[in-house]
Amino acid sequence: MRIGSPELALLVLALPFASFLAIGLIRPLRRRGRPAAAVSILAMAAAFLTAGALSWQALPVARALNPSVLWSWLPADGGPMASVGVWVDGMAMQMCVLVTLVSLLVQIYSWSYLADEPPPSLGRYYAYQSLFAFSMLGLVLSPGFLQMFVFWELVGLCSYLLIGYWYDRPSAARAAVKAFWITKLGDLGFVAGIVMLWSGTGTFDFWPLFQAAESGSLHVDGLTTIMFLIYLGAVGKSAQFPLHVWLPDAMEGPTPVSALIHAATMVTAGVYMVARAYPLFALVPSVLTLIAWVGAFTALLAATMACVERDIKRVLAYSTVSQLGYMMAANGAGAPEAAFQHLTTHGVFKALLFLGAGIVIHHFHTNDVFRMGGLFRQRPWVGGSFLVATLALAGVIPPGFFSKEAVLAGVLHAHLSVPFLMLMATSFLTAFYMFRVVFLAFFGHAHVHHEHPQPPVAMDAVCRALAVLTLALGLRAAIAGHHVEGPGWLPWISLAWAFAGIALAWATYQAGRLDPARLAAAFAPIDFLARRRYFLDDIYGGTYRLLLLGLSRVVGWVDRYVVDGVLNALSAGALRAGDALRRIQTGQPQDYVYGVALGVLLLLVWAQLS
């Protein structure tokens, strides 16, 4: 049944698009809200089932000429410029399942979470959701860089639309614009890189490029620069160190959006792209080393910021940035399989964490973890689900345990000792900040006593489903046995670090043995910097003010005084000359006759002389 698979993939892609078109174009459907949501959810469910059927078929692993449906695009004299269509391999297939699954669960969750929204807004929301699923699937199934770039930008657009869903809130509108601009900064590098690659090789398509790269016949001038530029796109999208500032702000969107876009799918596009184009990156070791260092540094930096954050969603956002750093470090260390494995497992349990956080926020009516407490006793199912995801994220239980092991082993295997140490420190911090949230929100004393409505059934059910899924994935990984080729001490050290982090969080926030203020004082400089987000936002703001506003001021001065000055001088001169010249017009007819007579006389004299 291998023949049918690319057509199935095409169907996966077409279903969300059809739903988007239906909701977007049929106005009564969109304005009524609920029916639009039903259409979107049904289409997504069908897409998920199709993707599941697709993954059921035995497909060859990556890096083979996979079954695909391709059309040529942009005909030119020397043949078509690029192929579009779907290109199915093991990686794309798994991503399809992940994207459709998380999208489906998030859409079901949103049904309850956004129940109080006015119907037209709800219709708009589901139109965006369908478009987002379509864009992400198109990106995943791209057979070449050009189609990937188109969908890459569509994903960015959907992210902008969904972060700014509550566009009448100034903070949400600002966050949406910030996310859009900062990712665009990286996308500039991406588009420049793929165009340079095309001008060097004459193709955008993965298959010929990979073949040439693996047989060593790819000779392009400045390949290092090209791959660095392409990597810049991933830096923006996957929130790597200098461009990570948009992701925490993106939490202004509705919580299901955060779960979908900023945890499970969109931000993973950068990691996926690097893993997908790995045969090309493998040719440039210097860029790979850079990717590993930046990834490890991002992981550590974001983890320190997560330790001091009070907003539960922002803690999760920083933890996403941190985990993306892990994946990128694995990519850079030459272990794209480990990166991809961590991507899929992280996608599942991070979605669960965000959706659980949505219920927590719904329960306490606040985002501040210090004003929560004691939820575990009231909502054991929510607490249990959240705890499962937290343990997986901290790398204590599978599947997070195995995927994190794979990443660490990969980095160690590549002899990147400093990034490895950074990642080890991060796994300690990860356990610490995640259990800080767990102890503060789910244990301890309830601070506020007011009416706690039962969470809606759909939200609860989605969380339970994801928790079961996380455990099932872990079970499958455990049964399959993990094939991490690392030293035998690695899992034990890693586990010990994680438990140390949990113990520190317990001693500080649960048992009260340690005073948080004293802990902060012990790490005063880091605490100071992390609370101010390492001044990165200020640096960006300052650069903006200094460069852009300074330049605008100079340009404004030139316009006001140089350009306008020349024009004003010209017009004033014309006015003055006209004023002087008009005095020769006396208005007396006889003066004009004098003029004519004099002129005739002069002509006569001239005629006589010549």
């Binding site: 005095r583 006396t586 208005g587 007396q588 007819p589 006759v593 004098y594 007579a597």
Partner: protein, 99 residues
Amino acid sequence: MPLHAYLVLAALVFVIGLFGVLTRKNAVGILLGIELMLNAVNINLVAFSRFRADLTGLIFTLFTIAITVAEVAVGLAIVIVIFRVRRTIEADHLDLLRG
């Protein structure tokens, strides 16, 4: 009489007319000066026509006389209208076109 006698006469009449146009302050006087200049030209045309035995000049003159009549009629009408509006026909006071 030789041709140049007629031409001298015509030149004299023309210059007298020009002098009138330039010096008269009364608009009617200026019109009279213009008439004299036109008739000086007519004399020239008739004289050349006579001496060169070419009828074109004569016919041209007839046209000129007819047109002159019309011109005077229009000119005097303008003068009358100006007098009605401005209560003067002194050329020095009619300087609406002064810059």
